[in-house]
Symmetry: C2
Subunit: 273 residues, 2 copies
């Protein structure tokens, strides 16, 4: 057990969506400190080239390294798909993304081998969930559906609104018609719509929340590597939040979804890293 | 009358929204050729810094100059607000934006001096319409309302959908309660929701479409400077479209709103300009 065990976890996303992943880490690994970075000035990553996403991710990782993190969670579907494998070769601390944990669990729980995946247009077009699921079991049919209106609805705060229910109903209809028994919430914003989704798909469809599965994978990883924190250490700000654009909007959103008021938030110039 | 009169108009936007401005130019100035550039790889501009928007705009203008345009229309509210005045000093051809024409007409037509403006969060927070309107008449009250869900609804193609009507109704309600008699459609996507807006605001509220007013301003400008095209010149592609990301989605959207099928579309690397 060394000082390293008390070091924070670095978590990053293109914006605020990854806060749902941070939230699961807070809930499931309460002893761990977190440094979160949201690239709010360059959001969204979904329409950027692989080169751009890789360049941005490298800058963010250099910044997180200055915060002495002991492990990194890529809480962004696009960066997990486009940059994670390359970056893993370049750094000497553990790093995990959100796609593989969700895909693995979905492949394990499906009975009829029909899995639905909802996400942004970029995530669905990348077929990244399909690729990871079929690596587990090539027999599984994976049906993707892009839901471009759901992120703006969440960011507008209309979480349990009739409009949101109607929009989600239309997106899910073709998946349910194809008889899926498992649905991956393949965008970090979607866990905030979990109760809407549950109502629409009924009890028979298993909902897979990659944010939760990622926190569980992180827990296993820290234990295997002897990196888990043995207990809560006193710290003024166990959770620190950084963003590349003005923090006010970030703070409002974070306070609306996290179980406590966000203390330390700071804007940084990420291009300098 | 010189060869210059037959040169095309350069029109640019952060994405596809500026096509509504191109459409008004096609309708009102049918003799003019157009080169359109949509910065689809870097959309949206609304959350970017002034420096970034200025840098992007300069790159685009350098590209348009290689196409020998005779005048430039900044068909993007953010770039009109953040970059237009600076760029005007740097180039030797006429350039106009979308904000001033709409603001001028709204200030002229209001009777009760209460104007509503709807737009993206960035446009409304910039207060650019308010600034231009109150330069005309400081007595006018300008009430802004950010409508972040409307662009994704338009891009999803839900133009006359019940969901869109309900969302727009909620956004317009506080403006109507404040008794506006004029409403500026302060985002290039919104003219596509004109019939929805008309239904919601009734006949008493005057709708101002900056895309149309910009086309009329361009017409006056070309005539004043002796730059108007005297007639339709035979050209394989009188309207040419360029984008900084894959053109398929751009083409689909363009074909859905323009009065004919888009012929020439091409992806270019805008960072090289």
């Amino acid at each position: 057990m060394s000082q390293k065990n008390y070091a924070p976890i670095g978590v990053f996303d293109s914006g605020v969506g990854g806060l749902t992943v941070a939230r699961e880490i807070m809930r499931n690994l309460p002893n761990e400190k977190i440094v979160y970075f949201g690239d709010t000035a360059r959001v969204p990553y979904g329409n950027k080239s692989r080169e751009a996403v890789l360049r941005y991710s490298r800058q963010i990782i250099r910044f997180l390294m200055t915060q002495d993190v002991k492990a990194i969670v890529v809480a962004c579907n696009t960066a997990s798909a486009m940059a994670l494998e390359t970056i893993r070769e370049e750094i000497n601390i553990p790093i995990i993304g959100v796609v593989k944990p969700g895909a693995r669990v979905a492949a394990q729980v499906t009975r009829n081998h029909k899995i639905g995946v909802i996400g942004t247009r970029a995530t669905i077009n990348s077929c990244i969930y399909k690729e990871f699921i079929q690596r587990q079991n090539p027999e599984i049919e994976v049906i993707g559906k892009a839901c471009p209106l759901l992120v703006p609805l969440v960011e507008e705060g209309w979480l349990k609104d009739a409009v949101t229910v109607e929009v989600a109903r239309r997106y899910l209809e073709p998946l349910l018609r194809q008889d899926i028994d498992t649905l991956i919430l393949g965008c970090t914003h979607y866990p905030l719509l979990r109760s809407v989704m549950r109502e629409l798909v009924g009890e028979k469809v298993r909902l897979v929340n990659p944010a939760y599965e990622t926190a569980k994978d992180l827990q296993r990883l820290l234990e295997e590597r002897g990196l888990a924190s043995p207990g809560k250490e006193e710290a003024e700000f166990p959770y620190r939040f950084y963003a590349s654009d003005s923090v006010q909007q970030f703070k409002d959103f974070a306070n609306s979804i996290l179980p406590y008021d966000v203390g330390m938030t700071k804007q940084i110039t990420i291009e300098e890293y």
